[in-house]
Amino acid sequence: MNGCPMLRLAAALALVLAITPAEAKDTGLIYVSNEKSNNILVVDPKTYKIVNDIAVSRRPRDMHFNADHSKLYVACGDDDVIDVIDVATFKVVGKLVTGSSPETFAMDETRRRIYVSDEESSTLAIINMDRNIIEKEVPTGAEPEGVLVSADGKTVYVTSEVGDLVHAIDADSGYVTQDVVVGTRPRRFAATPDGKELWVSTEMAGEVYIIDRQKFVVTGKIDFLPPGMRKSDVTPVGLVMTKDGKTAYVALGHAAHVAVVDVPTRAVQGYILVGKRSWGVTLSRDEKTLYVANGLGDDITIIDTASRKAVISIPVGRVPWGIVVDD
């Protein structure tokens, strides 16, 4: 063998780049699910132009990439499936059957499982990704919504919108092991990176509840009131936390703002103006950019997190719900 190892590595890399379409990795492309136009729109992060329009099953809502970002999974509520999109070709290449009206889900690729809340059957379906079967349906409170899997994969957390509950479910046995009562209409989760706290948005209470995961009790809550808004418009749904566990962004729904929260002190540091009924919210990997889907504005807002200002709003499809970034 001759030649230096570095060169060989570079050659191998070049080969990989040559056979992999440029769009398949770290493209920064923004994917938006549109509940009412039944499509996923793909937006270029530099030109802010729509570069692809993927027709999917009806009422697409929550979306997640798999670990290597080769596939995008989309829960489609009116067809009771999760569509699987091939990220390289922007084509739907598979469908996983769910229960009635899947809304949000979480993936555990180690166990090859998807946990999906089926809004109308009031269950959490445990789906085997490889065999495309529902292994178990766990009864939950009415209208289950947010789903979060613990880092070790042992516990699944689910909210019940109507029951004002957060369930802890044992992933192995598929039983609810603990419940905690929170504020009215609990929606989504964020977990602190230290694994100690679970943050839950409660839409009707207009607050974020904080749950101690060890004791499984409510240890605090955060109120929001953007300037000039009415308390009744504050309907928090989507929330996301930075990887260092210092900052949380909470989309306030009809109040058309995103709240910036200092996680250790739980103090609201400011509000960023976005569009109407903002729900879906996500961060770029470098956490310099925040993306927000405005459900009743038919647009998305892109925010510079350093200056806490909206950079641009881009029209998308009808009733945008979820937003994810391929980076």
Binding site: T177, Q178, M204
Partner: protein, 400 residues
């Protein structure tokens, strides 16, 4: 002080939590019984017909709304160690309602969903006075029940006429359609609706251009009274026509038969309602869907919403107080309790007349045009109190 029963309940609840591992379910220790009370042959549920054969509306008792609420409580049985049961009582006549309620009360039922006509309320209120009961009015809008009757044992979940009309008038005022022409029918219900409407018009600063009492029929000698064209032939312009017609037979002839091209509201076209099947905010599509499944495809209406919310109030009071003790539940419902009625602002019970504060949906046949309180109608404590009898206006003071 905690009552011994309450302490027991707490221990039971705690035990249920500890035994949270996958153990086989045991029968719940506590029971909350709910009874739904209706009257046989209630005229409010008679089909509304055009001539003889064509059924225009076939109203149904809101029992399915209560059933949806009970189904939603099923996952809480294990958590609360309490089951919730719903019985249906059909009284032979309005006069038998009080006896039927007392019988069920003696057998341990504390919560009742009352779906009876207004004239059955007075004897019922007298019979239950001072008893440990809570009766939820789920279908009667009569303002007199919230004012003159003023009974502490009742919670009026269904919107009052005052709330409905305030919502309607807020909307037209917000659009600056303030010159209103009023058509009123001959029945007592029409008169009550017209009175509530006129009060709302005055409250929000609109103006009634003319009040016309119509006489249903086709008699050509009465054409000045039965033809919308002639009834609306005024030398003054108007923005909207308001029709109070509980029989509906005249109301349905008003659209497109006016002298001027004007929209219509009240008993037809733009109707103020407690609920509408096209409402698609605040989680409403899921409730509508559960209801349609439960009822065999029927659209969810105002009384169904009220029955659903009444059960929800009972269940949520048990959840948030962790108690199946009646007085604890009652204190929560009448006190701090606020509930998600899927109409935006949280619903709660007014301390003064036990009316549930709630949004009013202004519904066209296929679209909720707006939800009142309309933006801009402000209140010092709760904007929902811009609708219906606010504390300074009411004659009922259950909180004093």
């Amino acid at each position: 002080m905690l009552s011994p029963f309450l302490v027991l309940a707490w221990i039971a609840a705690a035990a249920a939590q500890d035994a949270s591992a996958p153990t086989p379910p045991t029968a719940p220790q506590q029971h909350v019984k709910i009874a739904f009370v209706q009257v046989d042959g209630d005229p409010r549920y008679a089909p509304i017909r055009a001539y003889e054969r064509i059924v225009l509306k076939a109203p149904e008792h809101p029992f399915a709304g209560a059933e949806v609420g009970i189904n939603e409580a099923a996952p809480l049985v294990r958590l609360l160690n309490t089951d919730f049961t719903l019985d249906r009582i059909v009284a032979k006549s309005a006069a038998d309602v009080a006896t039927a309620v007392l019988q069920a009360a003696d057998a341990g039922t504390h919560f009742f969903l009352i779906d009876v006509p207004a004239d059955a309320y007075r004897p019922l209120a007298a019979a239950v006075r001072g008893r440990d009961l809570l009766l939820f009015n789920v279908s009667e809008p009569d303002d007199a029940l919230r004012r003159g009757l003023c009974s502490a044992e009742f919670v009026h979940v269904y919107s009052s006429r005052a709330q409905l009309m305030d919502g309607l008038v807020q909307y037209v005022v917000s659009r600056k359609w303030t010159n209103l022409l009023e058509f009123q029918g001959p029945s007592p219900d029409d008169a009550a609706m017209a009175t509530a409407f006129e009060h709302s018009v005055q409250k929000f600063g609109a103006h009634i251009v003319a009040q016309r009492k119509f006489k249903p029929g086709t008699d050509p000698r009465d054409r000045e009274l039965n033809d919308p064209l002639l009834l609306s032939a005024l030398n003054r312009d108007f923005d909207v026509v308001f029709v109070a017609d509980s029989d509906f037979d005249f109301a349905r002839t008003v659209p497109y038969h006016l002298m001027r091209p004007r929209p219509i509201m009240g008993s037809i076209d733009l109707e103020p309602t407690a609920w509408h099947w096209t409402w698609d905010h605040n989680g409403a599509p899921q409730v509508n869907s559960r209801f349609e499944k439960r009822s065999g495809g029927r659209h969810m209406e105002g009384a169904d919403w009220a029955a659903w919310v009444a059960v929800k109030m009972i269940v949520q009071s048990a959840l948030h107080t962790r108690s199946a003790d009646f007085s604890t539940q009652r204190a929560f419902i009448l006190g701090d309790g606020s509930f998600d009625g899927d109409k935006g602002l949280a619903v709660s019970v007014r301390a003064w007349d036990h009316q549930v504060r709630q949004a009013v949906l202004l519904a066209a046949p296929y679209e909720v045009v707006a939800s009142a309180p309309i933006e801009g109608f402000l209140h010092q404590t709760n904007e929902l109190d811009t609708l219906g009898d606010d504390q300074p206006e009411t004659t009922c003071h259950l909180n004093r």
